[in-house]
Amino acid sequence: MRVPTWVIAAVLLVLGVLGWFSRCAFQNCDRTVKTRLTLDAEGGFAYVKPPAAGGGEVDIAFLKDVHATDAAGEHTCDVHQLGVRLFIASGVLVQPATQPLAGWDVANTTITFTPLDAKTSGPLIAFRGQPPPSPNQPADVNNDVSWQDLVWVASVDNSYSANKLSSTWLDKVSGRVQLTRGVLLAHHPTDPLVQKGTWELKNARGNPPSFTQAMTDATEYTVDVPGDTVTITLANASGQTPSSIVVKADSVHHEVKLKLVGVHDDPPSTIPVDAPLTHYCAFFQLLDPVPDATAWLMPHWKGDALTPGGMGQASPGGVCPGDAMGF
């Protein structure tokens, strides 16, 4: 029996229509143009979950100068900030045309990334688990994956039941990066020695109780931004810092990569074993009420227990570790 031509044509038409509509079962049909944005942050930033945001936001906050004294007028905390620098580590600048050699000074700005939407990125994931038991280090300190838990960004407010993030914390920071979508992970420390070592957070009076843990000064934030450019909005920008920076991915890395570096004055270049990281005192000023200075749990370098003879000195240099608040 001969099949009529119109039947063959109709069958082919049906198959074609079915194939067209079922193609997405076999390939990604999402043609939304998006750009991967990565922000590496290094320094003594406060990673704050603002209570008002209901847990859906983390701010990388830049601390102001701190000059605190006790009731007797003795200096208890002196930290002089030298600024926060933002660099385009990879990507093509659309606007402005060039970046300063020392990056843009963003210490007094509020940074957001636009546009962000649900099509390209989910609500912010910023996982901070429970500290593992002693020696409280990542399972494999040489494996980047082991450092991804934000628990490796220490937290002062976890140890104080009566002292929580101040409701006026925004007055105590000079600027911040607001993260509302994407993923925020901890990253291995910028100093290979610190990567292998631990810190004991303690005070002279033994209350709150001391504890030991590994700490990092670095985090990595990743988000997919719709479109082929990323706009970095810098509210309150002044001087040579523009109010917005537009970047697109380059042909090598296929992403936009930013670097945020915090630098403060007279950083203790090297910290001997059992010596305190004195600049950590700045984070206690964000608590309400500020605990008595004798109660501050200050990190003391305990060295590298993994390497025989490898106690070494921790070297924050211009980069001190951060602290998580409100998690």
Partner: protein
């Protein structure tokens, strides 16, 4: 005709062959040398695959620009040149010149093979270099300096003051002025510091008369007591600062061109001419010499000939000096900046400040002024290294006469500890000529 074509092919192949040797480095001139350039700096890639060349190029350009923008260097920019050299790695992050993770307690966050310094010079054959900034493809922020190289993990490019600070060590022999916060306490008890930017003598420090604004606060070189520094606001103490007046004065002394060497007695005058001869091209022979302070062993690591004035100085920028003799006659002296046996690091340094970060042997750069490899084949040039008493002739230039007086003082103020003999130097020169790579 065929013969001509064949000859052309041979010449062409030779030229291409020469390029094939040099081109893999793909040197990029980031700041061209001038006639005054004495401090050519090469930025060498380490651990970057060909796919990552643009990452290295970007980092190298950034670092070169950072130095050019820093105040002291911008004011003396004609003395410097920058060239980047891409030495491709087969595997990302794996060094091609012998840098590797430390296997135990070390001075730095990176360790290296005994042959690393020689390998670096071999890789850079034909590329003039006073110092080599090695950018390691490692996702960290640390640095380490030894021999003729300064190793930086690539994240250091985001800290624009690192290399301007490190060159303060390499050129002016400047000491680090930072020290740990209380309650850490380290009292300095080493050799007297009376020539440097740290002062361990009785007050006032040497700089007080010239710089009356100096505050002379305690702490320097990692020690919290027993030593003072002039100003808190100084590149050697604080990132983002310029050199303080004291460090600036030491740097300015260090970059002053050295006087020409004395003529040896065995030079033959070929003939006199009625017309003044054209000035000869500037020629300097650069030696990288491994010196062991404990055993007195000396060996030449590399030899190269450069068409530029040397980076040597007679200023008192350190306590190690060398004397160049030709046929037994002293023709030149120079001071090695800083302490060449000290391994400097930021990040990952040992527990006691600087005291443990020393090695017995180090590669020292020695310059032979107005010399060529060809001429050295027939000369009796020897090099003797001296340890100078820190308090002898403080802050005075180490001229041949001054060194002679220090050697014969009672007790001696300059003690020789190693000598590169004329025979050993000639052998090294012959090897260099035999293996010289066309440029």
């Amino acid at each position: 005709m065929r013969l001509v074509l064949a000859a052309a092919a041979v010449v062409g192949a030779a030229v291409l062959g020469a390029r094939a040797i040099v081109d893999p480095l793909n040197p990029h001139v980031l700041l061209a040398p001038t006639a005054a350039t004495r401090f050519p700096i090469v930025i060498l890639a380490d651990g970057f695959t060909p796919d990552e060349e643009s990452d290295f190029d970007s980092a190298a350009a950034t670092i070169a620009a950072q130095v050019q923008a820093a105040s002291f260097y911008s004011a003396n920019i004609g003395l410097f040149s920058f060239t980047s050299a891409f030495n491709a790695a087969a595997t990302s992050g794996v060094s091609t010149v012998g840098f590797h993770d430390p296997t135990g307690a070390t001075e730095c966050a990176i360790d290296w093979d005994p042959s690393t310094s020689a390998t670096i010079d071999a890789v850079l054959t034909g590329v003039a270099h006073f110092r080599v900034i090695v950018i390691g493809n490692r996702d960290y922020h640390f640095g380490c300096a030894y021999d003729q190289w300064i190793y930086l993990a690539q994240e250091a490019q985001f800290y624009p003051d690192v290399i301007p600070h490190e060159l303060g060590h390499a050129i002016g022999g400047l000491k680090d002025e930072y020290f740990p916060d209380p309650p850490a306490s380290f009292a300095y008890s080493g050799p007297a510091l009376v020539n440097e930017n740290c002062w361990s003598g009785a007050p006032p420090p040497w700089w007080q008369a010239a710089f009356m604004t100096a505050t002379n606060a305690p702490g320097c070189m990692g020690y919290t007591a027993g030593v003072v520094h002039a100003y808190d606001d100084c590149r050697m103490k604080r990132l983002t600062s310029d050199f303080c007046l004291v460090c600036l004065s030491l740097m300015n002394k260090a970059i002053a061109p050295p006087p020409p060497p004395a003529a040896p007695t065995n030079i033959r005058i070929i003939k006199a001419s009625m017309q003044p001869p054209p000035p000869p091209p500037v020629a300097t022979v650069r030696l990288l010499v491994r010196v062991n302070a404990a055993t007195s062993d000396v060996a030449v690591t590399s030899v190269s000939e450069e068409s530029r004035l040397p980076a040597s100085t007679r200023a008192r920028v350190g306590d190690i000096a060398y004397e160049i003799t030709d046929g037994g006659q002293t023709i030149d002296t120079a001071v090695v900046p800083g302490d060449p046996f000290e391994v400097r690091s930021y990040a990952g340094s040992p527990a006691a400040p600087h005291t443990a970060a020393r090695r017995d042997s180090a590669n020292v750069v020695v310059y032979l002024q107005q010399a060529t490899l060809a001429a050295l084949r027939s000369r009796d040039v020897a090099i003797t290294f001296y340890r100078l008493s820190p308090t002898a002739r403080p802050r005075q230039d180490v001229t041949p006469d001054a060194l002679g007086a220090m050697k014969t003082a009672t007790p001696p103020q300059a003690t020789s500890f190693a000598t590169l003999t004329a025979d050993a130097l000639r052998r090294a020169v012959e090897t260099a000529i035999a293996t010289r790579r066309p440029i």
